[in-house]
């Protein structure tokens, strides 16, 4: 287990510390075991961050997933099952992105 520097909300302080192993470690803190369907969304979220320079709040997150993977996956229920609670926040944390600033 790597000793990670996290902020008070559990997000990585240095985004460059992220790796797939780190993602598993972060997910474990929320009792999540990452499967392929998680990774599909996590990779998409990282791609979003590359493209738009911020972590999205819930609505654009859902819309982006819908645009890229179709409506079967781009809906709140599906994402809620994968990342319970607040999917935009939890997925951003595991994907090694900053906390969505426009998401309270």
């Amino acid at each position: 287990m790597k000793d990670l520097k996290l902020d008070k909300d559990g997000y990585l302080v240095n985004l460059s510390d992220w790796s797939p192993e780190v993602a598993h470690q972060l997910a474990a803190e929320d009792d999540l075991v990452l499967r392929d369907d998680h990774w599909e969304v996590l990779n998409l979220l990282r791609e979003y961050y590359q493209k738009f320079e911020h972590a999205p709040s819930q609505r654009p997150f859902v819309k982006y997933v819908a645009n890229q993977l179709g409506k079967d996956k781009g809906n709140s229920i599906y994402l809620m099952k994968l990342f319970p609670g607040s999917p935009a926040k939890l997925a951003a944390r595991i994907a090694g992105l900053p906390r969505p600033t426009n998401c309270f």
């Binding site: 738009f52 320079e53 999205p56 819930q58 609505r59 645009n67």
Partner: protein, 119 residues
Amino acid sequence: MSQSICIISTQAPYRGQFAKEALDAALVSASYEIPTSLLLMGDGVYQVLEGQSPDQLGRKNIASMFQSLELYGIETVYIDGESLGERGIAPEQLLPLYTLLEGDAVASFLAQQDKVLSF
């Protein structure tokens, strides 16, 4: 129907945090499904010039953030045409996501808004 908010952004993209904060405000407001518009005036029009790469400044690319607006339900960015003209900027040099407001259109657009925030 909730009240409409217009965010006016008047500063150049990497001048302090003004441009980023204006965008953040627009994204927050749109996330709450408040009818939100973004109006660029003065040096603010430089924010949507194509071809920005601020990596060496260690700053986030403002233009990239603009491209996410559609996912937040903000379909267009309003731009004061006179500010473009004064700076010799042709509309083709801008990201293709704007609506130009010419002449009195700026004043009448603002008159329709319930709340206006400036950055």
